[in-house]
């Protein structure tokens, strides 16, 4: 059973959510119910795929062992960068193996959601090192990492935020408001994914394989909007479902096509992913670079930071030339944008003007759509490279 795209899933979902709503309205704790639902859903989703289920089980036990072991070490022995780095590496290792598995048998750690589950485990280890997390009961860990509404493709929540919601019992009024918003999001998500994404997908099919420049542009736009409505639709349904379980999963999209520059785009597109990278990679790289004086100026450090950050994000999508190029493309764009904003007197003089914002929006939209075209794999195909 896959998630959010078939009748079977939605039938089970409705059955699971109705008692949850009853519990919520009666001001009863939802924690145990939603944890049990997570186990039930995980079992249903992997029932027909025993190999995936086995990898997921191995993954989960490995991460659990690392998280609990490192927590115990951190609390009793304090900060030790060497141990921290080793644990961090081991927690990412399953993901690395799954991404590289294409070069051998293709099945190592290949299960639905590994990319997203890894983020949730890695951030717990990083925040343990930072001293922000000092305890992690096993059931809380399972409830957070495997939380079924967002298990397959996010959004990527933060454990401290998630567990606060999980252990909180909202008042009836608060729950009803949250549940109402949740139902609305699920319905809006359905429209996004089943209707709007399908229309743009049809558009892509109409011109697939055409070489004429206007068909290529048409395809790129259709693909960009398809990607948005498909993924934002999924995200809305995942967020809406979690609302009904009393969890305020963070938003993933905020009108990305209205962005006025590329930096703003990453604040509006796949937000939980880009903010994860910002908080756990970019900012840390920057702080270290400033401290170790790796670069002549802080602006140079930022440009390098953007490149590294986006290259890793590209690799995370998959170890293919198109994804790597996509990452580098956005890294370069972010670096140029940063440099331009800091250095250009033209920008400083006109950035508040209406015409400037319009022009900047128009250029950004083209850059974004071209980025998606790279992401789709069609760009390298067009160049005859794949």
């Amino acid at each position: 059973m896959s998630f959010y795209d078939n009748y079977q899933f939605f039938c089970v979902l409705i059955f699971i959510l109705m008692p949850a709503m009853l519990l919520g309205i009666l001001e009863q704790p939802l924690k145990w119910y939603s944890t049990a639902a997570t186990f039930l859903f995980t079992a249903l989703a992997f029932l027909s795929k025993p190999q995936q289920a086995a990898w997921l089980a191995l993954f989960f036990v490995t991460e659990l062992f690392l998280v609990e072991g490192y927590l115990a070490f951190r609390v009793s022995r304090g900060r030790s960068p060497a141990v921290y780095r080793l644990v961090l590496f081991l927690s990412i290792l399953p993901l690395i193996l799954s991404k590289l598995a294409g070069f051998w048998d293709g099945s190592t750690f290949a299960f639905l959601g590994i990319s997203y589950l890894t983020f949730r485990c890695v951030q717990i280890i990083i925040e343990t090192y930072d001293g922000l997390i000092t305890e992690m009961p096993v059931l809380d860990f399972a409830a957070f990492v495997l939380f079924f509404p967002s298990i397959s493709s996010g959004p990527i929540d933060r454990s401290r935020r998630f567990l606060q919601d999980l252990n909180n019992i909202p008042s009836r009024q608060d729950y009803l408001t949250l549940a109402g918003e949740g139902v609305f999001k699920i319905l809006l998500g359905l429209i996004y994914k089943l209707i709007l994404a399908s229309i743009f997908f049809k558009g892509m099919g109409m011109v697939q394989g055409a070489w004429e420049w206007y068909f290529v542009i048409f395809y790129a736009y259709c693909y960009g909007f398809y990607l948005f409505f498909d993924f934002a639709g999924y995200s809305l349904m995942a967020i809406g479902t979690s609302y009904l379980l009393g969890i305020r999963t963070p938003e993933n999209f905020r009108k990305p096509f209205l962005s006025v520059d590329i930096q703003e785009f990453w604040d509006r597109w796949h937000i939980t992913l880009s903010h994860w990278f910002r908080d756990f990679l970019f900012s840390r790289f920057m702080i270290q670079s400033i401290r170790k004086k790796r670069f002549k100026t802080r602006l140079n450090a930022a440009c390098a930071g953007f490149l590294v950050n986006m290259l890793v994000m590209g690799l995370w999508h998959g170890v293919t030339p198109s994804y790597i190029l996509y990452g580098l493309y956005h890294g370069v764009l972010l670096a140029i944008t940063e440099w331009y904003k800091k250095k250009s007197s033209f920008y400083k003089k006109y950035r508040q003007k209406r015409w400037y914002r319009f022009l900047s929006w128009l250029i950004t939209l083209q850059l974004v759509i071209f980025g998606f075209y790279i992401f789709s794999g069609q760009f390298l195909w067009l160049l005859g490279l794949s």
Partner: protein, 78 residues
């Protein structure tokens, strides 16, 4: 401590508005971006000896000079 934080913010934002209007939203007003935020955390650690992790604070609430001062005051008191 308040003075030190304002010094840091003034240096990073390159604008003394952080003093004259300490309730200004640093991110909304483009005074601070991801680079500036990293600089801020590095300087807070160097100058005040308070280690703030990048994921520790939420940028929607750690967003004005006054709020940053208030947060760091509670952190240094604990």
């Amino acid at each position: 401590m308040r003075e030190q934080i304002f010094d840091i913010l003034e240096k990073i934002c390159e604008d003394d508005i952080v003093r004259s209007n300490p309730d200004i939203d640093l991110f909304e007003s483009d005074l601070m971006d991801s680079l500036g935020f990293a600089e801020l955390l590095a300087d807070i650690e160097d100058d005040l000896g308070i280690l703030v992790a990048p994921s520790e604070v939420d940028r929607s609430t750690f967003n004005t000079p006054n709020r940053i001062v208030a947060y760091l005051e509670t952190r240094s008191a604990s």
